[in-house]
Amino acid sequence: MPYTKFLTLFWLLAITPLVAQNTSYSCDQIPPALLPFAHSVIRQSETVLKIKNDRTIVEEQRYAVTILDPMGKRESRLSIYENEFQKIRQLKGKVFDAGGTLLRESQKSDVKSFSASDVAEYSDGHWEILEMDHHSYPYTVEFTSRVEYDDFFWGDSYQLQKLGQSVEKASIQLVAPVGFQFKWKALNTQVQAFQHEEDKKHSWTWEFSELGALPSEPFTPYFNEELVQLAIIPEQIRMGEYQGVASTWRDLGRFFYDINTNRDILSPEMTATIQQMTAGKSDAEKVEILYRYLQQNHRYISIQIGIGGWQTLPAQFVEQKKYGDCKALSNYMKSMLKVAGIEAWQALVYAGEKGAPSLYNDIPYPRFNHVILYVPKQDMWLECTSTSNPTGYLGSFTSDRRVLLLTPDGGVLRQTPGMTAQDNVRYSNTDIVLYEQGNATIQNRVKALGEPHDVYREWISKKKQPEIERDFVEQAPFGIGKINRLQLTAQPKRPEAEARYSVETNNFATRSGKRMFVPVNKANPLRRTLPDDEMRLTRLSLPDAFTWQDTLHFTLPAGFVLENAPPAQEIFADFGSYHLEVQALSENKILAIRNIEIRPVDVEAKRYQEVRKFYQDMAKADASQFVLVKQN
């Protein structure tokens, strides 16, 4: 009967979507434009952020990624962090083969827990990890997860793709009660939010499709700012019992200030000690005295519990335990300065040698991992976790980037001082006495200022002489037979260090028949090259800047004369300069002078080969040698 037939058909239609959905994971269906440079392809990704009320947010995510080759392998693993405030309510996975057929589903026992902390750390959070593997490529993995945030929310940034990954379809949806206010910013895309209201709920949906892959290339700006990203930050944020507003940096700064305020009470004994130490001193002297006191008596240990990731432990904790993490030590220093009558502000920063991600003026999306201290009256910055930095010196760890100052009036963005090629200088004066077999005695005196001095200071503070000598031998660019002397010193008040050494080396010059080939710069090689790439697509970023000035005196072995000296080398470019000249001072003395200046590089992909050529020309010049010949 027609009616029954219709019903049957209806039920069939109702069931088929499940099956149809799986076959859409077939790898044949991937648009060809999404394949170049891609090791994986996000087939579809749906993220729904539900603001339930002012205390609870639920984030649901389901995404399917096709892994094309072994380089995309890490996509088969999903790691989600869990702690007191964020609980994982669901974490499941499925594996499909190249044709899109479901092969298997994960079991609860497949999800494994791992600690999130290092040896010197403790945190009450941990990772839950699910790995869905398959033996042949390509294959597709689908993950479904739900995380519930209670009493903790300040925003999230979604990276739609990774390097080497393309995206077929992705969407992010925010569903909130009517009246919910927030800010959002999208990078590298023109996407707009599609809004919809229903049932007293307002939803915003951003949809993305057909995002081509960008290859993973060396020396890209560290934070992949060329990829599509979406940052969302609500106007009202909360952490535990603390609530705040986050519509501007000023407000956000105010929130972090409030969380961390009134934790600066020191004991009466400590207060008296500080007053004693700083009595009658100028402000600059007080900062110096207290910073040294902090450095000499306290250690870095990181303990994060609850909102401890954002709130400092009270000053009394550090006073008693004599250890703390970056927040606690900065707060402690701030508390000591307060007793001495000097105001200081904590500064949130993203620390790392490679630089920091940008902070956007129009949306206060925080990207920080460290805290330092700023003394406004002295315009001075203090790294409170370092036990050996000169007062006011930051080093490449936190230099030259925007930070958020937590002032009583709210948050203020400020740039930390940067160091140029003129600040980061290394001078060396080297005497090399050559012997008949090609071995040599090298005496060197190196003075390093600014960033080049950091490593010497670190060695001196962390290692004893035998370990310094052992590491020196292992890292030297030439083989060392014997160390006659090795002495490292660092200036307590300036970013300056000196190394003096005298060593015997076995293979400095190479002998061949009656000739000896002497590499001019073997004691201090430049060693800076870029791989060949004619089709580079991403920006090139090489942030270092430094100057080297080297003077080398060679004494020839008896019976040898100079056969050929290398011609003078001069290389100039936007990225720096190189100068080398070698001349015979007398029959058995040769002088070489080398000056190098390296400036920071931040250029578009099309200038990559130009930068590469500059480094290649320098490498070639640096490999210069002079040739001696034996006279009978």
Binding site: V119, K321, S512, P567, V627
Partner: protein
Amino acid sequence: MRKNRQINLIIILSFWLVMPLSGIAQSVQKWGKVSEDDLQMTTYAPDPTCTAVVLQDVGSIVVKDLRDHWGVNFERHRRIKIFDPVNFDPGQLLIYFRSNQNLEKITGVDVQMFYPDGRRIKISEDNIFTEAINPNWSAKKIFLPNLQPGCIVEYRYELRSEDIVTLHDWNFQTEIPTRWSEVTVITPNLLEYANLINRPRDFDVQEVETTNVLASDGNRVPAKLQRFGFANLPALNEEPFMTTIEDYRANIGFQLSTINYTDRPIERYMTTWSNTAFQLENHERLGVQYRKHQRFDRLWKTFVDEVGPVSDRKLLPEIALRTVSKYLKWNGQYRIFTDASLDDAYDRQSGSSAELNLAMVALLQRAGIDAVPVLVSTRSHGSLRPQYPFYEQFNSIVAYVRQPGESGVLLDATDPYQPVNELRDEHYNGGGWQLDSRNPEWLVMLPPLIDENWLGNMALNEDGSMSGHFSLSVAGPIAADWRLELDHGTPDQVMRKRFGSHHTDLRFDSIEIEGEKMLDQSLHANVKCRVKGAADRVNSFIYCKPVLDFFMMENPFKTSERLFPVNFPYFHRANYVLNLDLPLGYRLEEVPEAVKFLLPRDGGKLIFSVTAVSERRVQLVLKMELSQLDFMPEDYGSLRQFFELMIDKTQTQLVLKKS
């Protein structure tokens, strides 16, 4: 009469006690009693630059009768003097324990600190954290407040476990120096243990006593007390090219060997290798997996499909290897037991070394091929102890096909790029044990040879560039690395990494790869390339560096002395031959001297020569062979010299002059 008794007493006492060497007998200091000397110590004389020294580390292991089962009580009291709080490794204050299924439980962690001025502070519980590290292990972390230079910290704890087969082992040595370390083991005579000892020299204390312990029924039963101790052990630090530092750490372990029943025949727990084999052959997660067909029916069906019409049985081992590597991916774990069934691993498409390699044994045995598992201890896990028949010393399995009258064939599916008869480097640790209760023999497994050959026909141009052809062929484990990289990247990327990586201006005009998929054969690459800047032209001279690539271009042995033996995982041979056409108008000014260097006792050789084949053609030959895997510290000097000379020759320059 009285006199005799006195003498008897002396004899009895000295029979049971080995007197500790005089001067070394550190009286172990009790909890809370710290000597003034130790408090005031500012440096530890045997190692004046250490950040801290273990003053004493005292352990006791007691096997207890707990009514319905046995348990092991491990107690430890450790005391450390800290000279440098900032650089002191917090890992020294971590207590690891097996937390999965509550195998080990820690109770009663006590910590206290002493200051040089005499103050004693008890460390409260809010400074001690328990953290789950991974699904099997947890750790107690102790953070010391207000740590000053010169402080002494001591801590003690009790750990309970039910594993009486393998008792908690004891490390005498750690990464900081140890002044005194001792362990006392009390075992009821009912349970007899084999002592597995790893030591750098004789013990400073080694005692055996009879004693007794309380049994669960209230009676006292006879027991054995053993005590082992070392004084002044240096800090242990890893050096390059070693199997593992654990092979050299002073350590003792205890393995159950016999159960001495009084009312029935004694039960040998550690019996013979035959019995151990029988036990494992009947173990659900080992032998049963390959002996019971239902455990791997689905895998078998797939194998049958892969075999297809092939009837030559000699090809079956390779097909089994290929099938397992194709359908199961190694998850990075070394095991001797499977997690569940082989078919479960097949469904999951991943498995441990046990699952992958037992899968091959299963398939081959079912196909009528004589294949057995070979149990091994990986290099990082430490050396084997063939004299003690217990299986806990193994941590991984490979498969072995026996062929009467011929040498057998080894199979390892954990690396899909390795052919038949080649294992991953961790599995080469001297040998392994064949699991066959009728014939439980040891098998010597020598690693294969890495063979690299470069043959170049190039022309040197007047502008200092070199152009021409190179053919490379690699065989042995290094070929597996190449194949892995070729799967992950383009031939250009791989060549760039593996050939001439010291030359930045190397261009490949064409690259042909042969044999990429034929795992049992060597891999060939034929390249047409150009190197700019291979030579410098200065006035009327050209200085050319003709060695573009070799086994090593930088000496890995930088230090002048070495404490531990050098161990290479593979034998290695490298041959570089270059035929170079000189530019018009130039001749070879001087022929570099030929060199031949031999390592003592045929450990290796280095040969170098340059010959003028004709007026415009030169041939350079550089050959290296390492035919020994282990080099004792006494031979380190010549080994270092060997490498220095080799690197020197890779930097050879040919001097050409315009004629």
